[in-house]
Amino acid sequence: MTNEAIIQLKDIDVTFHNKGQTVTAVKNVSLTVNRGDIYGVVGYSGAGKSTLVRVINRLQRPTAGSVEVNGQDILELKPKELRVARTKIGMIFQHFNLMASRTIADNVGYPLKGGELSHEERQQKVAHLLDLVGLTEKAEDYPAQLSGGQKQRVAIARALANDPEILISDEATSALDPKTTSSILELLKRLNQQLGLTVVLITHEMEAVKEICNKVAVMDDGEIIERGDLVSIFSRPEKPLTQDFINTATQINQALEKIYKQARTLGLDDHQQLVQLQYVGASTDAPLITDLYKRYGVVSNILYGNVEILQDTPLGNLIVVMTGDPDKLQAAWQYCQDAGITITHLKPTDPEVA
């Protein structure tokens, strides 16, 4: 990963006029993607993510703003130059968009047609691409004979045919089951590492981002509301929407819901407190629970625990009931905070169960 920007979107606006109605799909968005990044753009449907990334290869012309890809001003390009530029920006789609009338090998070789390669060179390239995505034996099949995951692999091979430096993934895993999703994400990660491919990944699932992205931007209603590197976004989300996405991805939401239901029946007293402990990086290694007992006599009952490894950085979440004297509890919390652990006091009566 370098700090060299490969995609620079500045002040992008996209407005649609439809039957007298004006819809602003993207509002004043700037986004910089560096070479080698796997940049996740997360948001619910209708947030404008797809429109935004279509600006990168000018499948969508922005109403305002500037687009620079690989040092080229995309908006200034003539049609022919744009087509050349597009060969260096691969794209994959939610519904794969393969040609039903062509074999797998033909689909993968499609972008090379009319190019400089001879027939033999093209066949070699196709064979290499199919090998790269692990579908060599399907070369002569038709798309209708393949599973969803296999179709997406074909689409990836096709997108890579012209050796692009950028791959745009538009909800590419949204139509796939969880296991297939993981395998496609792994493939993207591998391509990122092997080929130095820069990936822009649009999704409504934070799980996908969590698995492979190093950076993430959260979109809502046409705007980027929060962005940053993956670990800091996951450990310190600021906007409620971001927290919501993360809690869904880490399954804390589901856990909290159950715990709250139970906590209401438990009836916690003054000596008990329900807290969420969150820790990043090295502090996951410390034997915290035992420490708290030894030092302050505070007993922690673990209700839920989860550790995510994000970009090789562990991110832990614990939901515990701490029992002890009120002043000892205070001291224990202070100790946690000093150790770099974020403490959130949870109130079971809180109706805000996200």
């Binding site: 691969g90 040609m99 009338s101 972008p111 038709y142 209708a144």
Partner: protein
């Protein structure tokens, strides 16, 4: 052949007439199909690419093509034959005869075919077009390598449909001087009360139609890989 002579007493004596009429029908059908096919294909593709949201969106061209197709399709063929007789004379030199019939046949069938092509191509997934655009395909490549290729099964099916309705039209053109099996059925069989001639002409047309339908279905199935 005695049963044939028994049931087709007049037709049995007209072997050469039938051969000639069948030849004329096939001649009209073939040449009209070639000219109207190219013309209709071009207009149909034109409609698809210039329509709102198309790859070469152009409201003016689209509206002109759309109006022409609608206009030509609104005129009943029998009337069209008479109305464009001067144009036919200009192109072919005469308004009567098998070759002359090709002009109204083209004008009568090309717009119909154009609509069929438009419908067939509108079934091509917009996402596939977008994917082709995203790998750098230009309009010409998208038309020939995506639209016409992906739409082929439907194009074959609608071509069969158009061809069959074209044979219907040749029969009508034949009745007013274009020759062919229609001419034989009406001007000989019907006018002279030799109904066996009419029936035989009809049977030959049926055989041609069934043959086209059968071959078309086989071809469409061969190129269709969607299931």
């Amino acid at each position: 052949m005695t049963w044939f002579a028994k049931y087709f007493p007049n037709a049995v004596t007209m072997k050469s007439d039938f051969l000639q009429a069948t030849g004329e029908t096939l001649y009209m059908t073939f040449f009209t199909a070639v000219v109207a096919g190219i013309l209709g294909m071009a207009i149909g593709v034109g409609l698809i690419v210039t329509q709102p949201g198309g790859i070469l969106e152009n409201r003016i061209v689209y509206n002109i093509l759309d109006k022409i197709v609608n206009l030509c399709r609104s005129i009943p063929f029998v009337i069209l034959l008479a109305v464009i007789a001067p144009l036919t004379r200009l192109i072919v030199g005469t308004a009567i005869g098998t070759t002359a019939a090709i002009v109204p046949l083209v004008i009568g069938s090309a717009p119909f075919y154009a609509r069929q092509i438009q419908n067939a191509l509108s079934e091509v997934d917009r996402g596939v077009i977008e994917a082709a655009e995203s790998v750098g395909s230009g309009p010409i490549a998208i038309i020939f390598r995506v639209y016409l290729r992906e739409g082929l099964p439907d194009i074959v099916r609608s071509s069969v449909l158009t061809l069959i309705s074209l044979i219907d039209l040749t029969a009508m053109a034949g009745a007013i001087g274009g020759g062919g099996l229609g001419n034989l059925a009406i001007n000989v069989g019907y006018s002279r009360f030799e109904s066996d001639v009419t029936i035989l002409a009809m049977l030959i047309i049926l055989v041609i139609v069934f043959a086209i339908q059968l071959l078309g279905d086989l071809w469409a199935r061969k190129v269709d890989h969607t299931a």
